[in-house]
């Protein structure tokens, strides 16, 4: 899959998975921080995104702290999926 396509797919999935009903994919910039200022997700969201990575891409992140290094923004997530994705 093309990286741009993957990033767009990711945005749709994140919105659905985290129930971010106020947002559209266009509202999420590739480089916008997911946590803190930016999208403002929190620790429960990071755990949910780790599950998303497992269910949709077969990636198993065991340590939530490792997960936060991957879950910086759409760019880092896409890059990680491209490197490690099983599906």
């Amino acid at each position: 899959m093309e990286t741009t396509e993957l990033k767009e797919k990711l945005k749709v999935q994140i919105i659905q998975f985290l129930n971010l009903t106020d947002l559209t994919p266009a509202d999420i910039k590739d480089e916008e921080p997911l946590f803190g200022d930016g999208l403002g997700l929190d620790s429960i969201d990071s755990l949910e995104l780790i599950v998303l990575l497992k269910r949709e891409y077969g990636i198993n992140i065991q340590d939530p702290k490792e997960g936060r290094k991957v879950l910086v923004d759409i760019n880092t997530m896409a890059a990680y999926i491209e490197q490690n994705g099983q599906k």
């Binding site: 129930n19 971010l20 106020d22 429960i44 755990l47 599950v51």
Partner: protein
């Protein structure tokens, strides 16, 4: 003494009971034997705050926020609930089975705990004071009322946010229907009191009250409350008679009875026995065709009672079971049962 003054009250329910255009004259009908709450737009929940909320948390917080907006921080938040969060619990349960206990998302687990309502209200309003959730089924709200009455005795000149909240969820509706508490055949809320079968209609709602021991600006007074556990009609009758004798002054009568009659033939004997304690002075009215049956439905009755006693609302004809000769509703008695064995009685009056 188990009493306090109610200063403000709000209610999100299956009727038009919230916001600027409250109208209880028009009876909104049940759908598929359920009375779902009419929810407002929640403009005060910014951004994605709503996404994390179970329905109970949404309607509980939604009903509470207008009360908190105008007042100083309450000295405590006390909620009665039984089935709040069951929808979220159901989602989590489904995940457990579907994914065979592997890699589950925690959001619905966290949102499914019943103390989420009181905690979320505390979080939104940054309230670090006393915070408690009572979950004793059909007496969850009554226990919350008793808790607040005790708190006011312990801490004079305080104010508390008191609430009763429950939601319809797929799980609790299915389980309660299987257990025989909801009607299996089609039944409209406008017909439910004519039903001769077991079970009632499922409802939900959130009723919130700011209460304190200051009579000034109070719209109503909770004068007394009692809870009874029994399946014996005669035991209930004796206890309630005693409750009335102890709490109504000589010569005073209840002007209005609000009873939790709910179309379930098994609880009818209790209501019939209760009605017979009163003469043709007292008007007898029912409320569950408006809100449905749920464990904290008595909180909806308290909201109604506050509005009738203060004159804020007029009782619509669709509530009247038996018209009495009383012209003013100064003393309102609420009698409710839940699943036959739990009974609660509250006496609400004009502040005095």
């Amino acid at each position: 003494m188990m009493k306090f003054y109610i200063h403000k009250t709000t209610c999100i329910s299956p009727q038009q009971t919230f916001g600027d255009n409250i109208n209880i004259e028009t009876l909104h009908p049940s759908v598929d034997n359920k009375l779902y709450a009419i929810e407002p737009a929640y403009p005060q929940f910014k951004g994605n705050a709503l996404r994390r909320m179970s329905k109970s948390t949404r309607i509980g917080s939604g009903a509470a926020l207008p009360l908190l907006a105008e007042a100083a921080q309450p000295d405590g938040i006390i909620i009665g609930t039984q089935v709040s969060g069951m929808e979220e619990n159901g989602k989590f349960l489904n995940q457990i089975i579907e994914y065979n206990e592997d890699m589950l998302t925690p959001g619905s687990f966290v949102q499914g705990t019943p103390n989420t309502i009181s905690s979320q209200i505390a979080l939104i309003s940054n309230n670090k004071n006393y915070n408690l959730t009572h979950v004793h089924r059909g007496l969850a709200f009554e226990n919350a009322v008793i808790d607040v009455a005790m708190l006011l005795n312990e801490n004079p000149q305080s104010n508390y946010l008191l609430g009763g909240v429950d939601e319809i969820s797929f799980n609790n509706y299915t389980l309660d229907t299987l257990a025989g508490w909801f009607k299996k055949e089609d039944c409209l809320n406008s017909d439910m009191y004519n039903s001769v079968t077991d079970g009632s209609l499922s409802g939900e709602g959130a009723a919130m009250f700011m209460v304190g021991d200051d009579k000034q600006n109070a719209i109503a007074q909770l004068k007394a409350i009692t809870t009874i556990h029994s399946a014996d009609v005669e035991v209930i009758r004796i206890r309630i008679k005693k409750f009335l004798e102890e709490n109504l002054a000589d010569g005073e009568k209840a002007d209005l009875l609000l009873t939790g009659e709910n179309g379930d033939k098994r609880s009818l004997p209790f209501y019939t026995s209760f009605d017979s304690l009163f003469d043709n002075y007292t008007t007898i009215a029912r409320f569950k065709h408006m809100c449905g049956e749920y464990p904290t439905a008595s909180s909806f009755a308290l909201w109604l009672a506050c509005n009738f006693v203060s004159g804020e609302l007029t009782m619509p004809q669709h509530m009247v079971k038996q018209q009495g000769t009383a012209t003013d509703f100064k003393n309102i008695l609420i009698y409710n049962t839940h699943k036959v064995g739990q009974h609660g009685c509250m006496l609400v009056s004009v502040p005095a």
